[in-house]
Subunit: 319 residues, 2 copies
């Protein structure tokens, strides 16, 4: 095995045995390409195969040289994988699973990186033949950018990866997926798909929905122009545009897939917002002050948990 | 005049004549202390006086050595200023104006940094005697931190400062306030208080309210624990906690002062959110996709306008 000098981040190999012979990535955007880079960084697999549709992504991938083989035929790519990871938007899972299911190797593990987990069981599960193992996973990491060039090996470092296996799943397969994500730098949590979808609805899906929504509201006003919204965005608005710049297809599919949990959490959010609105209308400063003090404490806990940096970022470049 | 070597950021003096003899800051927190540092950086005044109440801020200020004199008596501090800037929460303006009004020098300019402008005219205006000039201003800049130690000289660089003088205001006084904020690094815009308050309601106040609200909602759930919310905050939630960590007193006062515009914008936001909620419930992916594509474009415009950095910041330290 090729032990390269340190300083070459892509091949910073640890010398340990690879966990898988071949990992096949189905779809290679921000997350897929970050996985490819993380695999190379720690030598987690002997070979990385990318299964992509012909087009722009395939060309971009060829230039990036972060995978060993690009196959523009999903079943043919899946047939090579000991671990096959769906890295496409959730809405594609059912049809891709149907297409690649019959091609899967005996003993192969099928996983994914989708932000909703109950639909993975529903859409992919029935297409995984006897003797192959479905172990859904969700690395809670990302950026507002998309496409294979936006990926980087460190994306998963110190982030949580939630694994949601069905109770009857082969424990050996679950253990290998855990080892794989630990190798990518993640910390692991196991939960049920239903609980995962509730947790992510409040920590990720509803925040994104609200961000998309206020950016839309602001751009539709008649009394304030778009150019004013853009000019004065440093007052707080720009923080929302960051997450409202996330991939539209991925997010459309997330909301359609996690409908029940999102509507439940959105109901709570709206109820609370109505109470705040009432406090403002009636000049109830105490209610406002009490909430605002409480939320500040939560920020501190997130920083203490290593999930955020304390650097003052409103000022962006200063400080 | 002392021409220090470059590298000393605080006294990077340009050699130009100061704009004011004495600037008095009434209250010195994040914004006040950033103004003091920006004054020193470009030699915008010969002397900086801080008018503060006895206590923690006064002690912190003494250690920081960013002002020339600390006076724990607001009228006595105001009496020294050629420019007197209110840097306290909006709710204090009326009583402070009443106290310092009679002490103001003939020809003195009174200004502020408040996030709502129509109430400044209402609360401060009546207490400014004949021959003194009220020129309200709002530098659209800040961080999620507070207190004098959190300030820095570059906070206003390339940010907008909105000035909202009444039509009858002395033009010389307005010109001096413009020059002062340009010296602090800001770009200047003039508008009416009413329009300012509408623009800020959508670009700053409602975004903050929503952020405070969702952080509150998340921390009150029974089905998802606080420690789960904190663990998985990298999925989007943590972006909201940043602005929900802003100063509670300041923000209580902003919402009480800008009630009408905030309620108006909040009504629009809620109406749009209800439409999105309906699209999710009925599986209308096209409506979702169209909105999400539109919001991405607005992000690009904000980056192009120099009000944000394109660096992928979900990944925080990577990329």
């Amino acid at each position: 095995m090729n032990e390269t000098a340190s300083g070459d981040a892509i091949t910073e190999k640890t010398g340990q045995e690879p966990i898988f012979d071949t990992v096949t990535l189905i779809g290679v955007g921000l997350i897929g390409s970050s996985i490819a880079r993380a695999i190379r960084r720690r030598n987690l697999a002997r070979r990385i195969v990318a299964g992509v549709r012909p087009g722009r992504t395939a060309n971009e991938l060829r230039e990036l040289q972060i995978v060993d083989e690009i196959i523009e035929d999903l079943p043919a790519a899946a047939a090579k994988g000991d671990l096959v990871i769906f890295c496409t938007p959730l809405g594609t899972f059912a049809s891709i699973a149907e297409a690649i299911g019959p091609a899967l190797k005996p003993g192969a593990i099928v996983s994914d990186v989708g932000s909703v987990k109950s639909t993975v069981i529903r859409d992919v599960g029935p297409h995984v033949p006897e003797g192959r193992h479905l172990v859904p996973a969700h690395p809670v990491a990302g950026t507002e950018q998309s496409g294979p060039s936006a990926g980087f090996a460190e994306l998963f470092d110190n982030r949580w990866c939630i694994i949601t296996p069905a109770p009857e799943t082969d424990l050996g397969a679950v253990a290998q997926v855990i080892k794989f994500w630990e190798g990518c730098g993640s910390k692991i949590e196991i939960m049920t798909p239903r609980h995962h979808d509730l947790v992510l609805a409040i920590t990720s899906h509803v925040p994104h929905l609200i961000a998309f929504n206020i950016v839309g509201t602001a751009s539709d006003l008649e009394t304030v122009t778009n150019s004013e919204v853009i000019k004065y965005s440093a007052g707080g608005f720009r923080d929302f545009t960051r997450i409202a710049a996330s991939d539209p297809t991925m997010w459309r599919d997330v909301f359609l897939a996690n409908k029940d949990a999102v509507l439940e959490m959105l109901g709570r959010f709206t109820e609370d917002l109505t109470a705040l609105q009432r406090a403002i209308r009636w000049g109830d400063g105490e209610t406002l002050y009490n909430l605002f003090s409480r939320t500040r404490a939560i920020r501190r806990q997130i920083i203490d948990a290593g999930q955020e940096t304390p650097k003052p970022d409103f000022g962006r470049h200063g400080g």
